[in-house]
């Protein structure tokens, strides 16, 4: 099914380090390894769920993939075209192909622009519409697509609820007709009763427009519902990835197992009988990650080798990759 031609996004050995400066001379002494050598592929029409806890590098990875922040090293190919190192002009042209939906619809919409202006700005910048009338026509079409009334076009973000604002954020991301969209925690700041509406909308748009998603979230129940494949990140690295069903029902990495067991399920009958792995301690600082495996400080199954050697990602079953010395 996944032939090489299907691959829309191909990320290889992507790294993003932030320098940490110390002392009077601002000497650069250390690095925060926010994203440390990750590789992933996403195929046409697929949704890859990227999960992990705060600070594990999910959002930095997304930003480095879209070149919103220049990667330290590595390669990002979108439909075979290398994005790393492109000049600003070429990169801007590429923005029509890849977009992002942000987490917080309160801070990601300019409060001084009307919904119409927010939606037509990308169209204007990229010269997609020839005149104002045409741009407005596109804006109205977008509103309808995301389930908002056309009357909203002259109103300001402040007049809308969180769910409606996120619909505007989605419409803006779609205004340039991209085929690849990163959804960076698109529902986590919304009320519970609104989340399902937005997830349904994202799936409807994916079907209608044949979109490919990178869906970032810490809400495991949503990720497993929406994703075809799941990648689990811990401290800047991907520790396990594979088909959703496999990773969900047969998680192999001890961190994935702990993460699954920590996520509460909304059913007291299940919760009562579930076996639980409670991790001890906190996530180590990405400035000073432990030697060997990043997870060795919290791993319930840690062995001597884990503190010395970093385990490589290996394909343990077709399409199921795990970075762990246990296997």
């Amino acid at each position: 099914m996944n032939t090489a031609n299907d691959v829309i996004l191909n990320v290889n050995n992507l790294k993003k380090y932030y320098p940490v400066k110390h002392g009077l001379l601002q000497r650069q002494t250390m690095h925060v390894k926010a994203v440390d050598d990750i590789s992933l592929q996403i195929c046409q029409g697929e949704t890859l769920g990227l999960v992990g806890e705060s600070g594990c590098g999910k959002t930095t990875a997304a930003r480095a993939i879209l070149q919103l922040t220049p990667p330290t090293a590595g390669s990002v190919k979108l439909k075979g075209r290398e994005l790393v190192g492109l000049n600003a002009k070429t990169l801007r042209d590429m923005r029509t192909e890849m977009q992002i939906i942000f987490q917080n619809p309160y801070s990601s919409l300019n409060p001084r622009m009307t919904i119409g202006q927010i939606l037509t700005e990308p169209i204007r910048v990229h010269g997609i519409a020839t005149n104002r009338k045409e741009a407005e026509g596109i804006a109205l079409e977008l509103l309808q697509r995301v389930g908002l009334s056309p009357y909203f076009v002259n109103r300001f973000p402040v007049e809308f609820s969180g769910g409606q604002r996120q619909r505007v954020g989605i419409a803006r991301a779609l205004s340039l007709n991209p085929y690849f969209v990163i959804c960076d925690e698109p529902i986590s700041s919304l009320d519970v009763s609104i989340q399902a509406q937005i997830v349904n909308l994202l799936r409807k748009l994916q079907r209608e427009l044949d979109l490919t998603y990178l869906f970032i979230s810490h809400d495991l129940s949503m990720v497993r519902y929406i994703s075809d494949r799941i990648a689990v990140m811990y401290l800047g690295k991907i520790v396990e990835h594979g088909a959703t069903k496999t990773v969900l029902h047969r998680p192999l990495h001890p961190y994935t197992q702990a993460l699954w067991s920590a996520a509460p399920i909304a059913d007291p009958a299940i919760e009562e009988t579930r076996e639980r792995i409670i991790l001890t301690g906190d996530v180590p600082s990405p400035i000073d990650p432990p030697e060997g495996c990043n997870f060795c400080t919290r791993c319930p199954q840690v062995m001597a080798i884990c503190r010395k050697e970093e385990p490589p990602l290996r394909e343990l079953a077709p399409g199921h990759w795990v970075a762990c010395h246990l296997y």
Partner: protein, 339 residues
């Protein structure tokens, strides 16, 4: 047999007088709790779950807030009638509180050992040296390693999960009979959340205190709570023991919320079911039932008369004119499964 309940909230109404209008934050809620109960208080942002709990401790700013009516009897004594100068007697001593964001609720310029000790010195009249020893003991109990050294550290030197442990140590320092936890794990990661829930559960058994756990996360409720109160639009719409609430919710809002969550066996080819519309504007609440504009069961009556909580099973109440239709739905569904 008649035992005085630990907590008896009656007809509590809280409003906020803002420049945009009167916010009807809590509209006449009543419930009781017994000694040692673990109660989950669920609702979306703005549903009144935090305000109602903070009002009990007189922790809402007045003005703009105002407790319009009602009573909150703690061990028989009405907390809303105590002199403001006397509320300290209860707050922090009989009732401990954990807030959502430990960074803003701890004093950033005071070592944490001193902060915990202060509560015990003030509330229990403990000598400072003894209180400090007690702080070390408390921090050890909530799982902070090398507590004897860490008491000298400041809040910023702790991680989010560790700060929340400090808050818990402080809240239980005076052996409260009731602990109010206001979204204590919302800002934390799932693996840390699991640690904190585990810790609170163990402490609850050990100290046999009652807990009100405020959250919007139904998963956390399923893991922790014995009883659940569901709030919507400033009113209690459903109260039930945890299991029946999740298996046979009787209020359309609870039903809608639960069915919008993807479960382990949700087919990913199907759309999620969802609740129409958005949560209500608390300044312009609709007349009648607060949920009717979003409700698929609504009739004309719902738009005119506010339903009261009515018992649908033992210990299970729902405020809806059409509870029978909701329950009928469960019956026909389980009949379908049986076939």
């Amino acid at each position: 047999m008649h035992v005085t309940p630990l907590l008896q909230v009656e007809n509590l109404t809280v409003r906020f007088y803002t420049k945009d209008g009167v916010v009807n934050a809590v509209n006449g809620i009543s419930y009781t709790m017994q000694e040692g109960d673990i109660l989950g208080l669920v609702g979306e942002s703005g549903s009144g779950k935090s305000v109602s709990s903070m009002a009990m401790l007189r922790l809402i700013p007045e003005p703009p807030g105002k407790i319009e009516s009602g009573s909150v009897r703690f061990d028989g004594e009405d907390l809303l009638q105590i002199k403001p100068s006397q509320i300290h007697r209860v707050r922090g001593r009989d009732i401990g509180v954990i807030f959502q964001d430990p960074m803003t609720s701890l004093n950033p310029v005071m070592p944490i050992g001193k902060q915990i000790a202060e509560a015990m010195q003030v509330n229990l009249g403990m000598a400072s040296a003894k209180a400090m020893l007690e702080s070390i003991d408390l921090l050890t109990r909530v799982g902070i390693p090398q507590a004897d050294r860490r008491i000298r550290d400041y809040p910023h030197q702790f991680s989010g999960g560790m700060r929340q442990r400090v808050m818990i140590a402080m809240a239980i320092s005076c052996h409260p009979r009731l602990l109010i936890a206001d979204e204590p794990t919302t800002a934390l990661d799932v693996t840390i959340q699991a640690q904190i829930i585990d810790l609170v559960k163990n402490l609850q058994k050990e100290l046999s205190m009652a807990i009100i756990w405020i959250t919007h996360d139904l998963g956390v409720i399923a893991r922790l709570a014995e009883r659940v109160n569901v709030m919507y639009g400033g009113t209690l719409v459903e109260m039930a023991p945890s299991k029946p609430l999740f298996s046979t919710p009787a209020h359309p809002y609870t039903l809608g919320l639960l069915s919008s969550l993807p479960s382990l066996d949700t087919d990913s080819d199907q759309d999620l079911s969802y609740i129409n519309g958005s949560p209500p504007d608390m300044i312009h609440l609709p007349p009648g039932c607060p949920f009717w504009p979003r409700c698929s069961f609504r009739t004309k009556r719902c738009t005119q008369e506010r339903p009261e909580l009515v018992e649908v099973a033992e210990g299970h109440t729902s405020a809806c004119w059409h509870t029978d239709r909701v329950l009928e739905l469960h019956r026909s569904r389980s009949a379908e499964v049986a076939q």
